[in-house]
Subunit: 155 residues, 2 copies
């Protein structure tokens, strides 16, 4: 049997630490956002919309930006619509298209939550790193993102 | 109003790259495991059990090891039980406890899938990094894991 290229202890340590840290960090940030009635996924959608012109994005663009399937996003947007944070609007120039649009409540919520959330991201991630490590994280993970995008577009 | 400590462009870049890379990588690995009828979460459970004495773990330990709630794990184990990969057994020395135990099919599946999965982890993550970057990832994310465990145990 060929050597299947098992990971070295350090490689395995890096991979497992990456998985564990991501999961723990997501739980922690989710938990802190729950005080505002939001999940981390809700918050990412609010931020994407709040940074877009007229606080609106096509559902297809929003799905790409938040890296989830359109069906999953659609359920998510329904929940956020029920909470009064966003609405859906038909695209005037494209019958098949729908926009997700931030409501006033959605905008106010984003403004109120953002400083707290950023403080959490600092406390549990960024401020644990040296500036060199921050630069390395950006470099490594941008490389991974580019790699996976290139695989997907090659299909 | 006080400066809420907004992230610098590099810090924000690092944080967003971390989130995006993790999500894309999880999807990619999930997709490749689907060829074997498994999710990434299934695979992690199989690996944890296959590395344990007698291929069994208490449900509470398995929940901790895979960083998920006991109720979520319980649903997951029910699905894997239906697929014939694991069984549940009562603990003889603890009436309230239950073990998750790998079946022969679960063991065979783990042995068959592991080389393919490790090749995916190499292709989409480890082999994109220099050895120094692998060491940095291990260091950074182990620090994050320790930090979050220390917050949790302080409560």
């Amino acid at each position: 049997m060929e050597d299947p290229g098992w990971l070295s202890p350090r490689e395995q340590g890096a991979w497992r630490a990456h998985l564990a840290a991501h999961r723990l960090l997501s739980h922690q940030l989710d938990r802190e956002l729950q005080a505002f009635g939001l999940s981390l996924n809700d918050y990412e959608i609010l931020v994407n919309l709040s940074e877009s012109p007229e606080h609106r994005m096509r559902m297809s663009e929003l799905a790409d930006a938040t890296i989830q399937s359109r069906s999953r996003l659609s359920h998510q947007i329904s929940r956020m619509e029920a909470a009064g944070l966003v609405t859906r609007e038909d695209c005037e120039d494209d019958r098949r298209g729908t926009y997700a649009v931030l409501t006033d409540l959605g905008w106010d919520t984003t403004q109120r939550v953002a400083p707290e959330h950023v403080a959490s991201v600092r406390e549990h991630f960024i401020d644990l790193l040296t500036p060199e490590q921050v630069a390395t994280v950006e470099e490594i993970y941008t490389h991974v993102v580019d790699h996976i995008h290139s695989i997907r577009s090659a299909k």
